[in-house]
C-alpha cells in the first residue's frame, strides 16, 4: 500500500465512524444539533479524502476540476437557498424533494458507467466481475429511479399539486404495478445478457413503478412513504458504491438504508398502521366510506369566539391540542400569543402533542419550537392523557383523527386501536375547525357530537386572532 491509499483508508474509516456517531446523536434531543454538524463534517471529510486520493495517484485534470466545480456550486447553492427559504410548515415536501435528488444522483452515476464504461470497472472483463457490475448498475438504476419519481410524487401530493386519482384506488393498480415490476425484471435480465440498450427500458419502467406505487397512497401516510423512500435512497447509494468500488459509499448507504427502515417502522407504530397496509392498502378514506365511519352528526354545538374567551378566562388548566390545521394556517405564532396571555393570568397551559401531530411525526414540535413555546410545556400523549379529567378547557386546533374517541370505543372503526388523546375527559372542549369536513381518515369524529364539545368554526389563525382581541377586552393578561 502506498501513501495515498493509506491516507484515504484512514480518512474513510474516520468518516464512517463520524457518520455513525452522527446518526446516533440525531436520535437524542440534547445531542441532535451537534450530531447533524458532525455528520456534515464527516461528509466534507470524505470528499477531501477522495479528492486527495486522486490527486496523489492518477491526478485530476483541469477539465475534471471545471465540471466538478460547476456541479458542486450549482447543486450546493440551490440546496442552501431552498433550505433557508422554505417555511417550516413545508418541511415534509422539502425532505421529499432532497431525497428524490439523492436518488437521481445514484441513477445518473449508474447510467453514466453503463453507457461509458470507465477504467477499472467494466474493462477488465472477467465474467464474474462484469456480472456484479451489471447487477449493481441495475439495482442502482432501479432503486434510484423509484426513489426519484416516488419522492417527486410524494412532494407534489403534499404540496397539493397532485390529488389521488380515482382509478388508483381500484384493484387494477396492483395489476399495473406488477406489469411495471415484471418489465423491470425483463429489462434487468436483458441487460445482464449484454443488451446495453435495455438500460433505457429499465430507467423508464422503474420510474413508472415509482409513480404507480406512490400515487395511490393518501396524504396521511405520506410521511411513512417519505421515510421509506429515504431508506431507498440509502440503498441506491450503496448500490452506486458497488458500481464505483467504494466501501465508504456502501457503508454509509447501508447505514442510512437500515436506519431509515427502523425509523419507518417507528413511524408506522405511532400511526397505528402497518407498512404493508400503507404500501398496498390505498388511501384510508377510500376504505372507510363503506364502514360505520361515515355517519351523520346529530348533536353539534357551535359557539362564538367570545364564549370561548369567557370560558378560557375562568379556567385554571388549559390543554392545547395542535394539529395539521394549525400547521397549514401557520398559526403557531398567534397561538403562542394567546397562551402567553393565559399564562400571564395565572392559567396553567400545556400542549398535548400526539406522536403524528402536524404533517409528519415530530413536525408539530418543530413548529411550536419556532414560535418560542418552552420545551417543557410540550407533553407527549402518554404523559398528558391522565391529566385530561382534571382539565377545564381543551382547545383542539385543526386536529381531528388524533382526538377521535372512536379509536377507543368503536371496534368496527378503521381507527380502532390507534392511540388517541382523551380530550373528551376534560370539562369543556373547544374544537377550532374550518368546517365539518372529516380528517385524513375521512371518518366521522364522535367527539364533535359530545355535549361538552363546542365547535368554533373558522380558519385557525383568524379565530386565534379574534381570541386575542376578546381576551384583551376581558382584561386577560393585562398587568
Amino acid at each position: 500500500m502506498n501513501l495515498p491509499v493509506i491516507i484515504k483508508f484512514i480518512i474513510d474509516l474516520l468518516a464512517v465512524l463520524l457518520l455513525a456517531l452522527g446518526i446516533k446523536g440525531l436520535s437524542k434531543v440534547k445531542s441532535a444539533r451537534d450530531a447533524n454538524r458532525l455528520a456534515a463534517f464527516a461528509m466534507s471529510l470524505s470528499v477531501i479524502g477522495l479528492l486527495s486520493f486522486y490527486l496523489g495517484t492518477s491526478g485530476v485534470t483541469i477539465q475534471s476540476w471545471i465540471w466538478i466545480i460547476i456541479g458542486s456550486i450549482i447543486g450546493s447553492l440551490l440546496g442552501a437557498i431552498l433550505a433557508k427559504k422554505v417555511p417550516m410548515t413545508s418541511m415534509p415536501e422539502t425532505v421529499a424533494l432532497f431525497n428524490g435528488c439523492g436518488g437521481m444522483s445514484s441513477l445518473l452515476v449508474a447510467l453514466g458507467v453503463a453507457i461509458f464504461p470507465i477504467s477499472n470497472s467494466l474493462e477488465n472483463v472477467d465474467f464474474f466481475k462484469s456480472l456484479i457490475n451489471e447487477v449493481s448498475i441495475s439495482v442502482s438504476i432501479f432503486v434510484g429511479a423509484i426513489t426519484f419519481t416516488g419522492s417527486i410524487v410524494a412532494m407534489a401530493k403534499l404540496q397539493g399539486w397532485l390529488s389521488t386519482p380515482g382509478w388508483t384506488q381500484s384493484k387494477g393498480r396492483h395489476f399495473v404495478n406488477i406489469v411495471f415490476a415484471v418489465a423491470s425484471l425483463i429489462a434487468f435480465f436483458d441487460l445482464i445478457n449484454g443488451n446495453t440498450s435495455s438500460i433505457w427500458l429499465l430507467v423508464v419502467v422503474s420510474s413508472l413503478l415509482g409513480i404507480g406505487v406512490t400515487l395511490p397512497i393518501g396524504g396521511a401516510d405520506m410521511p411513512v412513504v417519505i421515510s421509506l423512500l429515504n431508506s431507498y435512497s440509502g440503498i441506491a447509494a450503496a448500490a452506486a458504491g458497488f458500481v464505483v468500488d467504494s466501501q465508504l459509499l456502501i457503508v454509509a448507504g447501508a447505514m442510512v438504508g437500515a436506519a431509515g427502515l427502523i425509523l419507518t417502522q417507528v413511524m408506522c407504530k405511532g400511526m397505528n398502521r402497518s407498512l404493508v397496509s400503507v404500501l398496498f392498502g390505498g388511501s384510508l378514506s377510500a376504505q372507510s366510506t363503506t364502514s360505520s365511519g361515515s355517519g351523520e352528526y346529530t348533536n353539534i354545538t357551535s359557539c362564538s369566539v367570545e364564549e370561548c374567551a369567557l370560558t378560557l378566562e375562568a379556567a385554571n388548566k388549559v390543554i392545547i391540542v395542535p394539529g395539521y390545521g394549525l400547521a397549514v394556517a401557520q398559526a403557531q405564532h398567534t397561538l403562542r400569543e394567546v397562551t402567553k396571555k393565559l399564562e400571564q393570568n395565572g392559567i396553567e397551559v400545556v400542549y398535548a402533542i400526539h406522536p403524528v401531530a402536524g404533517r409528519m411525526p415530530g413536525h408539530m414540535n418543530v413548529l411550536l419550537a419556532e414560535a418560542d413555546v418552552p420545551y417543557e410545556q410540550l407533553k407527549e400523549m402518554d404523559v398528558v392523557n391522565p391529566d385530561f379529567p382534571a382539565t377545564d378547557v381543551v382547545l383542539v386546533l385543526g386536529a381531528n383523527d388524533v382526538v377521535n374517541p372512536q379509536a377507543k370505543n368503536d371496534s368496527s372503526s378503521p381507527l380502532y386501536g390507534m392511540p388517541v388523546l382523551d380530550v373528551q375527559e376534560a370539562r369543556t372542549v373547544f374544537v377550532i375547525k374550518r368546517g365539518m369536513s372529516a380528517g385524513y381518515s375521512g371518518i366521522k369524529n364522535d367527539l364533535f357530537d359530545l355535549p361538552n364539545t363546542s365547535m368554533v368554526f373558522g380558519d385557525a389563525k383568524k379565530v386565534l386572532n379574534d381570541l386575542i382581541g376578546e381576551l384583551k377586552d376581558l382584561g386577560v393578561g393585562e398587568k
Binding site: A20, A32, V47, S58, I74, L78, G79, A254, I262
Partner: protein
C-alpha cells in the same frame, strides 16, 4: 476490493444502521429523517469518481457533473434544513424565563 469483502462491508453497514437508532423520541422523527436523508447524498463521491475517471469524455463529464449537482443539492440542503429545525430546540434553554 474483492466483491466478497464489499458484501461484508454491506452486511456490517446494514447491521450498524439497524442498531444505531433504537428509541427515537417522536420530536426527532422529522429532523432525523432529514439528517439521514442528507447522508444518503453520499453518492456525491460516486459522481466525483465518475468525473475524475471520465478521461475527457464530454458526455460522461456532463452526466457526472449533473449527478454531483443533484447529490450536493441533497447534502447541503439536507444538512441546512436539519440544522434549522434543530436550532429551534436548542435555543430553548436560553430563552426560558
Amino acid at each position: 476490493m474483492s466483491f466478497i469483502s464489499l458484501l461484508w462491508v454491506l452486511l456490517l453497514g446494514s447491521l450498524l444502521g439497524l442498531e444505531l437508532i433504537g428509541k427515537v423520541p417522536p420530536t426527532l422523527h422529522t429532523p432525523l429523517m432529514s439528517g439521514a436523508n442528507a447522508i444518503s447524498g453520499i453518492t456525491m463521491l460516486a459522481a466525483l469518481t465518475l468525473i475524475v475517471k471520465a478521461d475527457g469524455n464530454l458526455p460522461l463529464l456532463i452526466i457526472g457533473s449533473v449527478s454531483l449537482g443533484f447529490a450536493l443539492f441533497n447534502v447541503v440542503g439536507g444538512f441546512f434544513v436539519t440544522d434549522r429545525m434543530l436550532a429551534m430546540f436548542s435555543r430553548k434553554p436560553s430563552n426560558k424565563k
